[in-house]
């Protein structure tokens, strides 16, 4: 080959040794942050769609020695509910259904025996026309003292806050990772400029433009960043798969499902590419900025 791919022997620079590993670490962190954010977002979405369109009414357990009082209260509550606009259905959950709901927390086979449990009424509503929960809760409490309405909103709101916080942290990590990648590439490029000052001077003397010299550094940075980025991504994917296995074994409804959609996989795959492009542009502007100051 007559024209070498690169004229500067950048491959032998120390940057070739440290830059890919640092980039790998950066991409690893960014990838895990992204996966956390995406998973959290999906979990909130799942709970949200699962819960909207329903709310729960809780009728307190009977006082000791007042059998039948709870049944009467339940009847009053259901009647009131079904009279309310937007309510489509109201069903009392059977004891075994409640047991199934409690199982993840209390374990299978827990027997409740004579334990007084509140009665749970699952209410289906028309999601387009949500009732006035405050007014409804007040009227329910009048009909059957101690009755509580849970529209899941405060609970879901906290979950949303948590999800947003995690997304914010993830975005922060990605920004920090990008900034450190830029700093590292600037450092490596300056080092390369110093090491190869004589060769660069010769290239200039035989008529090379600054952009030509910059191109050499761009290609170098692109290759190193791509190499490091792919390694970092592979480690991140391995970590995600491992954690997903762990979650599977724990089999808890509390934990999110760790499966990514094709679009999410594509977003992850974009990470090394994005960082490689950032590295390339950084190298370019570092070289152009530094050479511009040379005579």
């Amino acid at each position: 080959m007559l024209f070498r791919r690169t004229d500067l022997p950048l491959d032998r620079d120390p940057s070739g040794r440290f830059l890919p590993w640092l980039i790998a670490l950066m991409v690893y962190l960014a990838a895990l942050a992204l996966v956390s954010a995406m998973t959290m977002g999906k979990m909130v979405e799942r709970w949200d769609t699962g819960l909207s369109g329903t709310f729960t009414v809780q009728v307190p357990p009977p006082e000791i020695g007042a059998p039948g009082a709870q049944e009467a209260a339940i009847d009053r509550v259901i009647e009131l509910l079904l009279d309310t606009k937007a309510v489509r259905s109201a069903e009392v959950l059977e004891p075994d259904e409640i047991a199934a709901l409690l199982e993840p927390w209390l374990g299978a086979g827990a027997t409740y025996g004579e334990l007084p449990l509140p009665a749970l009424i699952s209410v289906g509503i028309d999601p387009a026309a949500a009732p006035d929960y405050q007014d409804l809760a007040r009227r329910l409490a009048e009909a059957a003292p101690g009755t509580v309405l849970d529209d899941h909103q405060s609970w879901l709101g906290q979950l949303l806050d948590l999800a947003r916080a995690i997304e914010l942290v993830a975005a922060l990590i990605v920004i920090l990772v990008g900034a450190s990648a830029i700093a590292m590439v600037i450092f490596a490029t300056r080092m390369g400029l110093a090491i190869h000052g004589r060769v660069i001077e010769l290239l200039h003397l035989i008529g090379a433009q600054d952009a030509y010299v910059a191109r050499e550094f761009e290609i170098h940075a692109l290759r190193l960043a791509l190499r490091g980025g792919v390694v970092g991504l592979l480690f991140a994917i391995a970590t995600v798969i491992l954690v997903a296995r762990l979650f599977d074994r724990l089999d808890s409804v509390l934990l999110p499902e760790l499966t990514l959609s094709p679009i999410e996989w594509a977003a992850l795959a974009m990470l090394p590419l994005a960082i490689a492009v950032v590295a390339m542009l950084t190298a370019r502007f570092t070289v152009l900025g530094n050479l511009g100051r040379m005579p």
Binding site: M1, L2, F3, R4, D7, P9, R198, V199, L202, L203, H204, L205, I206, G207, A208, Q209, D210, Y212, G292, P295
Partner: protein, 247 residues
């Protein structure tokens, strides 16, 4: 081609290496730049290949005042100038062939278009058997010829050679000079710096003589035509009008 008017040069706060240097070199001319070691020959050549700018005075190259050139224009102008550096400045990690092809690559020429030309040029300087050798494995004389091939590969309008015969014996030195004469006949303006007065005297070319930081123009030495070693080839018409004039 090259016009210097009262050019002075100093490095940093050091002494003036060149002062009040004025001369004019016509296109197509052939000049020696003579002077003892340390006289400032390399410094004067650096001004000509734009590696240095005058501290004061005016230097015109290809009709342009060099102080007005942008970085981009400087690069383009350098492509019209071939330089044989005193220390060759070959790139050790490139083969002879790649070194010679470098100026063409830098100026954006296509690889397949220049392959033939580069190989022929290396054969022309007698290195057909060494085109894939790396400079550190070549002798000083061979490296010098690679450097010369690199300087002329872009068919420059101006060729500047800094002691191009420093590392070879007189017989080869004379042969290298014939090579420059060939180029000169094809229209290239040539300036050859040397401290070897006996070599200068074998050819009948005008001489820019540097001493004490000042330049004097000596027109073709009369003694030259009777010189030894084949001056018969290069003497015709040299020193006549248009070759150069002292300012």
């Amino acid at each position: 081609m090259i016009r210097f008017e009262d050019v002075a040069l100093r490095y940093g706060a050091g002494p003036e290496i060149l002062r009040q240097v004025s001369f004019h070199l016509e296109p197509g001319s052939f000049h020696f730049l003579a002077g003892s070691s340390g006289a400032g020959k390399s410094s004067l050549l650096k001004l000509m290949y734009l590696a240095q700018r005058p501290t004061s005075g005016r230097a015109h190259l290809f009709g342009r005042d060099v102080t007005t050139l942008t970085r981009g224009e400087t690069a383009l102008m350098r492509r019209r100038i071939g330089v044989v550096f005193q220390d060759f400045r070959l790139l050790d990690h490139l083969t002879a062939l790649e070194n010679v092809a470098l100026p063409l690559k830098v100026s954006g020429q296509r690889e397949n278009k220049v392959q033939q030309h580069v190989a022929e040029l290396l054969a022309w300087v007698g290195l057909a058997d060494h085109i894939h050798a790396y400079p550190p494995t070549l002798s000083g004389g061979q490296q010098q010829r690679v450097a010369i091939a690199r300087a002329v590969v872009g068919r420059p309008s101006l060729l500047l050679a800094d002691e191009p015969t420093g590392n070879v014996d007189d017989r080869i030195a004379v042969r290298l000079l014939y090579l420059f004469e060939e180029l000169n006949k094809l229209g290239t303006t040539i300036v050859i710096a040397t401290h070897n007065e006996s070599l200068v005297s074998r050819f009948s070319y005008p001489v820019l003589s540097l001493s004490g930081g000042e330049v004097r123009m000596r027109t073709a030495p009369a003694a030259a035509s009777a010189g030894a070693g084949g001056t018969d080839r290069g003497s015709a018409g040299q020193g006549s009008a248009g070759q150069g004039s002292a300012a």
